[in-house]
């Protein structure tokens, strides 16, 4: 299998950590942010995994899920729920927050945007009272959320207020060797700085996007 990654892309941190954790060996190529790896997509899609069948996975979360499943760990409903929350709720806010912070220098606005999802995570961890999101063991949900939030949570100045549970969870995932390895390979440091080149190539995030959603009700 061929895995296509690009430096400074937080989604690539996720998939590399997931591959290492599940013990999956891939042929890894580092490409530019704009490289069109998947033949049928108009937009660049990195990370991407070329499967043995020749088909591509272009969703980072689907790739992580595939690695975990191949390694013998099937996702539970709770895991599915976290993956869906990450993709639909966290990512739109996160991409806006990273953009504000890294490219516009608006640290306070960026932190304010992230307040609701980070509080939600803090409360969820508090309620469950387990070391990881879905229980006592690390799942694909931990890796996906950890990778997404790494640029934010690894920068102490980004964190405002007391989030003891979130901080503890982030530390527990960060010290895992596959995670350290993935950060070292994809990012050149902590915080949002290593993401600049990647963020400049992304379309401008727009937060009002939901208003365009049609309603048939």
């Amino acid at each position: 299998m061929k895995l296509f990654l690009s430096k400074g892309n937080p989604h690539c941190v996720k998939v590399l950590a997931a591959a290492e954790l599940a013990g999956i060996k891939c042929d890894i190529s580092y490409v530019n942010h704009e490289e069109r790896v998947v033949p049928y997509l108009s937009h660049a899609a990195v990370p991407a995994l070329e499967l043995p069948s020749g088909l591509h996975l272009f969703s980072a979360n689907a790739i992580c899920r595939f690695f975990f499943e191949t390694g013998g760990r099937d996702p539970s409903s709770l895991t599915n729920q976290w993956l869906e929350w990450e993709a639909t709720e966290l990512q739109p806010t996160l991409s806006q927050a990273l953009h504000l912070r890294a490219l516009q220098g608006k640290g306070a606005e960026s932190a304010a945007a992230l307040l609701p999802p980070l509080s939600f995570l803090e409360q969820s961890l508090q309620k469950r009272a387990t070391p990881f999101l879905c229980g006592d063991e690390v799942t694909v949900a931990d890796i996906v959320l950890w990778g997404a939030l790494y640029p934010v949570l690894s920068d102490s100045s980004f964190m405002t207020g007391e989030r003891a549970q979130l901080g503890g969870w982030f530390e527990r995932v960060s010290v895992l060797q596959p995670c350290q390895l993935a950060v070292g390979a994809v990012l050149s440091g902590k915080g949002v700085e290593p993401l600049k080149g990647y963020l400049q190539k992304q379309p401008l995030p727009h937060i009002q996007r939901r208003e365009t959603q049609p309603s048939n009700q």
Partner: protein, 173 residues
Amino acid sequence: MALRELSSLEKSLGLKKPKKYSTQGDNKVPVLQNNNGPSLTGLVTIATHLVQEANRSELLGSSAEQRALVQQWLEYRVTKLDNCPKEDIKTIFKDLNLYLEDKVYLAGNNFTLADTLMYYGIHHIMVDLAVQEKEKWANVTRWFDHVQHYPGVRHHLPPVVVLRNRFYPSGHH
């Protein structure tokens, strides 16, 4: 919209007892209420759960590879298609059309949950497509027509007229 989809999905899966749902937040994210355990939030999460409850796991894919493809297209539905600004719809059709060139269904040759939810999500766009556009996106139209005729899928949605002879050349049928 999501609740009607889930109720149609329940029927197509043959689940007898209707489920209780609520919605959450400004985006009306569906929540499945569960008497015996915690509730489940999110269209994809709930739909996946319903398929498992109905013992139809083949609809989630029959191999790790196919399961990943199914989940990828389910994610595509709720992240790309649902929030799509008007100017990007063309790109979605272009990409899907190219992808479906050599496939019957989204995850390959088998019908899966990805087809059902993508069909529900794209229906309101297909309804408004002119005949010329349907011809331009011939692979999407062919896939859509397959899915809307798949037993038990259509339920709450009106059929979209497809001039079949344009998409099924006589030499192939």
